[in-house]
């Protein structure tokens, strides 16, 4: 079956360090991957996305890397700040249709040490 986002459940990093959150997926049919951030009591917030025909995409302080050979996705956060504390989900969608469902992983809780 479809499986996206086999995460480590927690990650603790020092403030100012770079964070790397990893995700594995098993569904080769996923064409589109997204990273969401969820703060306590809030809805998932879009961070960055990447299509399957790309292997890297950069945003503001964040970079997503996609390795289709080993079905691995990572989110890199540069110079981690206290406001980055949240649960991070990688998610996949099977196609380019805007009506596609998103399959979420179980998430990684990122904690920032002062």
């Amino acid at each position: 079956g479809e499986s996206v986002g086999l995460h480590l459940p927690t990650l603790s990093v020092q403030e100012g360090d770079n964070s790397i959150i990893n995700c594995a997926y098993s569904n080769s049919a996923s064409d589109y991957f997204i990273w969401y951030k969820q703060e306590s009591g809030k809805g998932p917030q879009f961070i960055i996305d990447i299509r399957s025909n790309m292997d890297k995409r950069q945003g503001q302080r964040v970079t997503v890397l996609l390795n289709k050979t080993v079905k691995h996705l990572s989110l890199q956060i540069a110079a981690t700040q206290p406001g980055d504390s949240a649960v991070y989900f990688c998610a996949g969608a099977p196609g380019y249709s805007s009506a596609s469902k998103i399959i979420f992983g179980s998430g990684t809780r990122l904690s920032i040490r002062p």
Partner: protein, 115 residues
Amino acid sequence: EPEVTQTPSHQVTQMGQEVILRCVPISNHLYFYWYRQILGQKVEFLVSFYNNEISEKSEIFDDQFSVERPDGSNFTLKIRSTKLEDSAMYFCASSASTGPTETQYFGPGTRLLVL
């Protein structure tokens, strides 16, 4: 910045009662979704909706669930006879029909507690 909004933020109901969860998607979006998140678990897809009909639904979305777009702005999820296991956060999302991405933007959620 446009946002998806949801009401109520919290809903407590008795088992067997009907609940309606409301969402106002981003105004120029045409694709709408409901997801739920049981406490401590992953976010799960329930249903997608386009052009006044369901595009796709999950196994969770059984006959007790229905969705509706009653007017030009609201998108609702109705649970006809709530069960204890329906207790969860329910998130509405919307996405644009055109453009370079199919990003789904999520609302803040409605926390439903069934007693």
